[in-house]
Structures are given as structure tokens and as C-alpha cells.
Amino acid sequence: MRYEAPERVETAVSLLSGERGLARILAGGTDLLVQLKSGMVEPDLIVDIKKIPEMRRIGAENGGFRIGAAVPSAELSEHPGIRALWPGVVEAAGLIGSTQIQGRATIVGNLCNASPAADSVPAMIVAGAIATVAGPQGRRELPVEAIAAGPGQTSLAKGELVISIFLPGRPPRSGDAYLRFIPRTEMDIAVVGVGVSLTLGEDGLCTAARVALGAVAVRALLVDEAADALIGTAVDEAALERLAAAASAACRPIDDKRGTKEFRIKVAGVLARRAAETALERARRN
């Protein structure tokens, strides 16, 4: 196994695309080093991206923020601008692992590890986050929901890597939230995760909404029917009930040790409703 720590994106791309064996990208390493230790992957090349300056930055851009692929979650939690603009993304990223894990783990790693239960992914999807991908053909942008293809699988081609996530600006009276169910209070993997983002008009009616579910399908789902249940309403009791029903109806979960299908379907509706209530409260304050 070779270890390389390039200082430019282009060098990382040529290392990754030129490797004939198995290559892995090292950002926070909180998934990769566990996989190495267990022998789950045996890469020929590891490309550490933390020496690339643009990967380490959080920058303000067009009313939103660009977050480099090597920025640890702890840095997001400390960033007042991102906390104020997208509290749901920060709270989702902040749920991943311990303080020690937060010091290393990145949201891009969470995205590209492609676990269906990744906490930050539904929150990023409802934020309309855009991933910038660098590869042998240059750079391209795609919505975060297009990255994961299935458990542990991404849609990225050989030599490609996500170099940053853009969280866009948002209109006034907007709020987002992420909630997950776990059987304890801390340090666990989501049985169900739900992100909700919504915007209210001056009349208090919902003008835009996005709802995403985690851990209930092979990858996080953006559920238009659930968002449609909120748009045009005052996010009242009837709308919340329709939202819960649409969220539950979209689930395609498996039975496993964390929860049964039936439980996940039920809880997705409950959490969608609660996340929407928190997002609504936040929107009314903005």
C-alpha cells in the first residue's frame, strides 16, 4: 500500500485515475481506517486530501457556504454562519459519533461512504446541497442526492472525487431540521433519519419544502410527495398528517437488528412531522 498526500486537486485526480489497483481517498479516515483494520478493503493506494488547501476551507459564497471535503464536522459545529443558515445540517453532522470522531469525520466522507443511514445526507439533500466533483474530465457539479448509488456504492467514476459541498443561501422565513431515531441518547446509527426544510411566505403559508428520509431504503430518499403535503398550507395539523403519511408511504426499508420494516415505516412518519414542526419554528424566527 502506498500513501500519498498531494497538495493540489489535479495531483489527487491523476493519482486516483492512474492507479491500476484499488485506490481509496482519506479525509477524516473514520470509516476508512476501520475498514483497513478489519481487512474489508485492501487498497494499493491511499490519497490523503488534507494537504490540499481548498479542501480545508469553509468559504462564504453567493449567500451560502462552500465546505471543503476535508473540513471536519467539529469545524462546522463551530461555524456561526453555517449554524445560523442551515442548523439542520449542523445538527445532523453533529450526531455522527463521538467528540473524537467529530474532530476528524467530514460530511463529504459521510456522503461518499454511502451508508443508507448516513445522518448528514438527508439534511444536505433538503438543503439543496451541491457537490463539486473533480475528475480526469475536469470539474462538474451534481446534487448530493445523486452521489450515493446504494450501500457503499457511489455514482462517481474512476479518478473522480468530491472536493466540496455548496450549501446555498436561502430566502427569509426559512428553516430546516434533522431528527433521527436511535434506541439510546448518543453514539448510535440511525434507525430512521428525517430532514425537512421549508420556507414560509409573508402570509405564513409554506411556499417551498423539501423532505428527505435516511435508513429506510438503499440510499437516502428525497420525497416530493411529502414536500407537496406542506407546500401551500399553513403547516397545520392536517398538513402534518398528510406529510407523515407520505413519508411513511415512501419507505422501502429492510428488517435488521436496528429495527423492523413496520417500525421504520411508522417512525419515518412520526419523525417527519416532528422535524417539520422544528423547521417551522425556525422559519418563523428568521
Binding site: Y3, G28, L33, D48, T99, Q100, R104, M187
Partner: protein
């Protein structure tokens, strides 16, 4: 396998070592540099016994490659006491009997120190959440939490007096 030549700073001192590309920072600390205070509990980032501070961030050294230490600054448990003078956290851990077998203790002390540097006046809840990644099979955590609260109070008083 090609060895990596790494220059790094540990507890304020310059260190140089050669390591394999798949060797963890924890392995380097313990097996190459004889800094055996950091312990291997799980080796997968779940238990926190190998906690160190890397460029100001609390991390599990079992989830860091040794090669990543190049040009960075690391603080381990060995740098916590000032010669024979224990850090207030270490003293309070003794006073409160906040350890039994001691395997988790270095990691918990390093983690608690990182907490107090960021939040000098943490609540009990904040301490419990901050230390959720440090597992202890012996104490039941209460004595650890009390020791951290007491050390935080003493450090704050010391600052106020100064």
C-alpha cells in the same frame, strides 16, 4: 513497503520516525516512540482509550495514520503533567478515585483537558456528552464526571486569582 519518513511535534518536542503506510499513529506512538500512555482498547474509534490532540482537535490516534502526522502538532497524555507536578485533572482523578483499572484513564484525561480548554465551565450534561466516546468498564462514570467538574472549578479559581 516503502517506509515514510515523518517529522512531527509531540508534546512540544520535535520527533522523527519512519513508519509503514498502513501503520496507525497509535502504533507509532506506542511501538516506535515508546509513548505507551495512549492505550489501544478497540482499535476502531469506539472506546477513546487512544485519544490524543492533533492540531488542537481531540481525535482517536487509532484512526489516524502515522504518515499523517507529518508537520503536525500532537499532544498526548505524556505531556499533561509538568514534571512531577500533576495537572489539576490528574490530581482530581486521584482525589475522587475516578479510576480503577486505569486503561481508559489516559484517554479520558486527554479528552477532559480538551473539553476544559474549550469550555472552562461545563455542565454535568456537557461533560457526559463530550466524554461519550470514552468508554470505562469500571467506574460507572459518576466519579469521572465529578472529578472533571471539580478540576474545572479549581482551574477557574486559579485563573480568577491570577
Amino acid at each position: 513497503m516503502a517506509g515514510h519518513h515523518v517529522s512531527t511535534t509531540i508534546n512540544g518536542d520535535a520527533f522523527e520516525f519512519v513508519c509503514e503506510p498502513d501503520e496507525t499513529l497509535l502504533d507509532v506512538l506506542r511501538d516506535r516512540l515508546s509513548l505507551t500512555g495512549s492505550k489501544e482498547g478497540c482499535g476502531t474509534g469506539d472506546c477513546g482509550a487512544c485519544s490524543v490532540i492533533l492540531d488542537g482537535r481531540l481525535v482517536c490516534s487509532c484512526l489516524v495514520l502515522g504518515a499523517e502526522a507529518e508537520g503536525r502538532t500532537i499532544a498526548t497524555i505524556e505531556g499533561m503533567a509538568d514534571g512531577d507536578r500533576l495537572h489539576p485533572l490528574q490530581r482530581k482523578f486521584l482525589e475522587h478515585a475516578a479510576l480503577q483499572c486505569g486503561i481508559c484513564t489516559p484517554g479520558i484525561l486527554v479528552a477532559a483537558k480538551a473539553l476544559l480548554e474549550k469550555h472552562p465551565d461545563p455542565s454535568e450534561t456537557e461533560i457526559r456528552y463530550w466524554l461519550a466516546g470514552n468508554l470505562c468498564r469500571c467506574t460507572g462514570y459518576d466519579k469521572i464526571v465529578r472529578a472533571v467538574l471539580d478540576a474545572a472549578a479549581e482551574i477557574r479559581e486559579g485563573r480568577d486569582a491570577a
